[in-house]
Each structure stands twice: as structure tokens, then as C-alpha cells.
Symmetry: C2
Subunit: 310 residues, 2 copies
């Protein structure tokens, strides 16, 4: 699984950072991509990334501020122009459907693929091909949601060395072995797939949160995740400003990461008042509280591996 930060700035684009968008690529299962938020020019950033428009199957919108949605109409149109046929589902707050419909209608955009729009609510639990997504409302003045993505636990890695040693031939039965099933081999042997797998691996849990002040709902979503992605619009010395504008500081994000026992924190949605260099200050302040913190930049990508269950 790869997470690609397409846009990491707050409010307005700057030369350094575009407005918000994050891509989540399910690299192990065919490369389906989920997008989280879609600020203006997200499709432009995608042109210069590993993401393919046609592979985007779901887009999750945290809230309807312009810097999180104004790239949607263009991206939907370009995906159609590229002749993508696979369905696309959008998730987001109430009002998303009206915005999309009026934008497509006024511009005469006819999509050549099925588009579904799901308006989400606080407390929703969605299931997408085995992956569960929990939705909780944060504190941002207008409805702003956080998403917790829970991949199911899975079998361990295939012990290819043991297969070779026991002369198990290649063939369609290997997939069943990978799933830990009992299999009869072409030579008549019956084997138990579980014996050819390493220790089970836990599904990855991520929390990707919309703009917010510190709020208990964020801690619930973030509890024990492998990766927490949180806004840090301001540095620690602007806590009052952050509060007034329903935002967080980098230190507040780190405090949440610590309290929720997450493995890793990436902060994003950095105010254009901070240069890329000043971004280092936000990182240092946060790392003093929670050491596994990074400040995202446009194009920053990280891989999250499955972990072995102890």
C-alpha cells in the first residue's frame, strides 16, 4: 500500500504546495486507488505521479471547502475523456451531490462511466470489497469528517522455499494455498495450505482526517492505527489562531498521535504562511512530542506494509 501526498497546502495553492489531495494505492491487490479530497489541480499533480485516473475507484471528501473539492469536476471529466469505463464512487458530506450535478450539468459534461455519490454521516460504517471505513464528524465549523480505513487481517506470506522443497508444482492451486485452504495436488497428495504460510498478518489501519480542531472523535478514529494523517495548518505558537479558525497546530496533531497510540504520523494541510523550510520547524515541534512524525510535501510517498500478528 502506498500513500501519495498530491497536495499538502491549506486554503490556497502556493508555488510550494498545492491544495489538498491524498492518493491511497492498494498496490498488492491490483493497484486500485482511493483519493482523499480533491482540491483544484489535483488532476494536474496526478499527471506527474504514479497515480492513474482510470484506476481511481473511490474518492473520499472530508469536507466541502473549496480547497478540498474544486478539482473534482475537472478530474471526473478527464477520467471520462481518457475513456475509463469502470465505475467511480464519491463519498462526502451532504451537498456534494448537488455540487457535482450542477458542475457537470452547466458544463455539459457527460461521463462515460457510472458515477455513484454517497453522502456520509457521523457514525457511518461502510464496507468496500472487504475494507471497512468508519466515518466520524470532527470539529471544523462546517461538517468535516475523518475516515478510518480498516483492512481485514489476512494469512501470512507464502513459504515459497517449502513449496519448492516439497516439489509442489505451479498452478491454480497455489492461490488456494495462499488463502490457507486444503488442496489436492495434481499428483494426488492432499496438503493443508496453512502449513505453507508464515504467521498471519494484520490488516493495515489508517486514519485520514479532514480539517479540525482537536476533538475526542479524532482520537477514536486514530486509536492504534499504522498511519495517522492529520492537518497541521499552524505552528505551535498559533494555537489561538488555529482554534479560532477550527484548525490544529502540528503539536496538537502530535499530542493526538501520542494519546491514540499510533505507529506513525504524517501532518499535512500546511498554511501557505510557512515556507518549505519553515515546515521543518513544524516537524521539529511535533517530533518533540511524537517522534515518528513527518511533515508531508507535495509528491511525498510512503509505503505501509502489513504487520505480523504476534
Amino acid at each position: 500500500m502506498e500513500v501519495v501526498f498530491l497536495g499538502t497546502g491549506a486554503g490556497v495553492p502556493s508555488k510550494d504546495r498545492n491544495v489538498s489531495s491524498i492518493a491511497l494505492r492498494w498496490t498488492e491487490s491490483g493497484g486500485d486507488t482511493w483519493l482523499f479530497d480533491c482540491g483544484e489541480a489535483t488532476q494536474h499533480r496526478i499527471l506527474h505521479s504514479s497515480v492513474r485516473l482510470s484506476r481511481i475507484s473511490r474518492i473520499w471528501i472530508t469536507h466541502l471547502h473549496g480547497d478540498h473539492i474544486f478539482g473534482l469536476p475537472g478530474l471526473l471529466g478527464s477520467r471520462s475523456f481518457q475513456d475509463a469505463k469502470r465505475p467511480l464512487t464519491l463519498y462526502g458530506p451532504e451537498g456534494l451531490e448537488k455540487f457535482i450535478q450542477s458542475s457537470l450539468e452547466v458544463s455539459g459534461t457527460h461521463l462515460r462511466y457510472p458515477l455513484h455519490i454517497v453522502e456520509v454521516c457521523d457514525g457511518d460504517h461502510l464496507e468496500c470489497e472487504g475494507i471497512r471505513v468508519q466515518v466520524a464528524r470532527l470539529e471544523h465549523g462546517i461538517p468535516s469528517y475523518g475516515y478510518r480505513i480498516k483492512e481485514p487481517d489476512g494469512p501470512g506470506a507464502l513459504d515459497a522455499e517449502r513449496l519448492r522443497r516439497e516439489r509442489v508444482p505451479p498452478g491454480p492451486h497455489v492461490q488456494q494455498i495462499k488463502e490457507g485452504k486444503k488442496v489436492s495436488l495434481p499428483d494426488g497428495r492432499m496438503i493443508d495450505g496453512r502449513k505453507y504460510l508464515g504467521p498471519s498478518r494484520s490488516g493495515r489501519h489508517l486514519a485520514i482526517l479532514g480539517d479540525t480542531r482537536p476533538t475526542p472523535a479524532a482520537k477514536e478514529l486514530a486509536h492504534g492505527v499504522d498511519l495517522l494523517i492529520h492537518e497541521a495548518t499552524y505552528a505551535a505558537d498559533q494555537e489561538a489562531l488555529a482554534w479560532n479558525y477550527f484548525h490544529s497546530t502540528s503539536v496538537q496533531a502530535a499530542e493526538l498521535a501520542l494519546a491514540a497510540g499510533v505507529r506513525r504520523l504524517v501532518v499535512t494541510h500546511i498554511s501557505p504562511r510557512y515556507s518549505l523550510d519553515e515546515g521543518k520547524r513544524l516537524a521539529e515541534e511535533a517530533q518533540a512530542v511524537f517522534s515518528d512524525t513527518e511533515v508531508a510535501r507535495d509528491g511525498f510517498a510512503i509505503r505501509i506494509e502489513k504487520r505480523i500478528v504476534k
Copy 2:
């Protein structure tokens, strides 16, 4: 007067060309800027140009296809974020106001400057601080307009050498001399401003046309202009395709330039099927018909000077 091509591609952004937008900077009169069309990420291109958001006073939309309007909501919001207070007027086809209102409303965008929206019709003649704008409907399936911009003829250039020779001191009366008025100087002399001006200069005429098939309305708008900006979505060998999609080829644009007796032609709105290098082919084909033709690229800028009336 400077014309800056911010985006010169058709339909979808590519690595080479962004979608449509052109800036017209009135450099001689304080640097007010007019924008023609505003595809997605126009504000991003502006960040890397001589254009300032706060100086944009009027935006003219040729038609409502997404590649011409999806940058508007973000640009309007960022202009407000930068604390611009001066009013902004948008002109465009019916439906523009609904798109803007619904985008601003759903995103909770509150503009801190007055925004006026004027929906235009075929045959409209508008007047903007002495500059006249004629509107005509072209042929693009949906309503698509062309704009002819007519600057009034003006007095000749000030003969600064003669002022010096006759010891006319600096002061507020110099502005009146520039306008060709009779002036009483501080020392009591009465002088006739007209004698201190060179030959009168004609106002500049430009035609900036939206997407269109060849149509008589285009010729009327383009008649004798200093600069014609016309789409050339396709090369000459794709005339049938161009017709079917209500577009033009580069040669058709050149034929219009020739027939309308324009001084200079710049073609833009180039299909992403053509690389920047292939764009040279479109240029050569068109130049064979009308030699003063250029194919725009993103960032291409040209100055248009006033001409002396013969």
C-alpha cells in the same frame, strides 16, 4: 498592452499545456487585467506569471465547457483570500451565474469584494471605462461567444522635447496637455495641448474567440483587428473531425485571418493529441495561408502597441 497565454490546450490538461485562459494586461493604464476563460489551475499558472489576482477586474467567459470555467471558483476564492477589495465583473453565457453561486455556496466561500455577473447575448455591445466590447455567438453546439475589444482612438504621444525647449514646467497641467486640451501655465502663458502631441494613434482592436467551427460571425468580429486569437484544436488533415466536434483547424483559423484582414493571428486551444513539437506543424500549415501566425504555448506573451493614424 500585453497578452499572456496562461493555458493553451483543449479539453484536458496535459504535461505540456494547461486548459484555456488568456490574460490581457492594460499595461499603459495602470495594469488592470482582463481574463478570457478560466480553466482549472489558471490561478496556479498565474502564480508563475506577471499577472496579479488583485489586478483582475473583468473575466470574460466564452462558453461553459469545463476546460474554460472550472478554474473560476478557486480563483475567485483565492482573490478574496489575498484580501483584494476591488470589484470584479464576470461576463459569460447564461448559466454562468448559477454555476458560480452554487460553487461558492456549497464551499462556504464568502468573497470580500463585490462580484457582478453579467450574462451576455449575441449582438451585445458593452462599454467598460471607454473600451467597447462586441459580443457575437459562434458555432460550437452550446452557446460560445467571441469578443471584439475596441479601444478608443487616442491623442498622439507627448512631444517631451518641445515641452523642455519651451520651458513648460512639470505639474498637473501636463496631463491636460497629453489629452490635447488648452492649458494656462503657471507663468500665465496659454498653450494649445494639440501642438505638443504627435500624430493621433488608433485604439487597438482585438478579437478573442471561443471554441467554434468556421462561421461568418467570426469574420465580422475579426475584421481588421490588430490581433485575432482563434482556436486551432486540430491540424488541417482533421477537418472532418473538427467539424463534427464544432472545432476548427489551424488552416481554417488562418483562412479567417486572411479573409478578415487582420494584422496578426495567434492560434491556441491545441488538442493534447499534438506534442509541443507537432505544434510546429500546425504553425507551418497555417503560415502557408497567413504568414503572421503563431501557435501559442503556455506562458507565451506578446505586446500590442498603438498605431499611428495615417
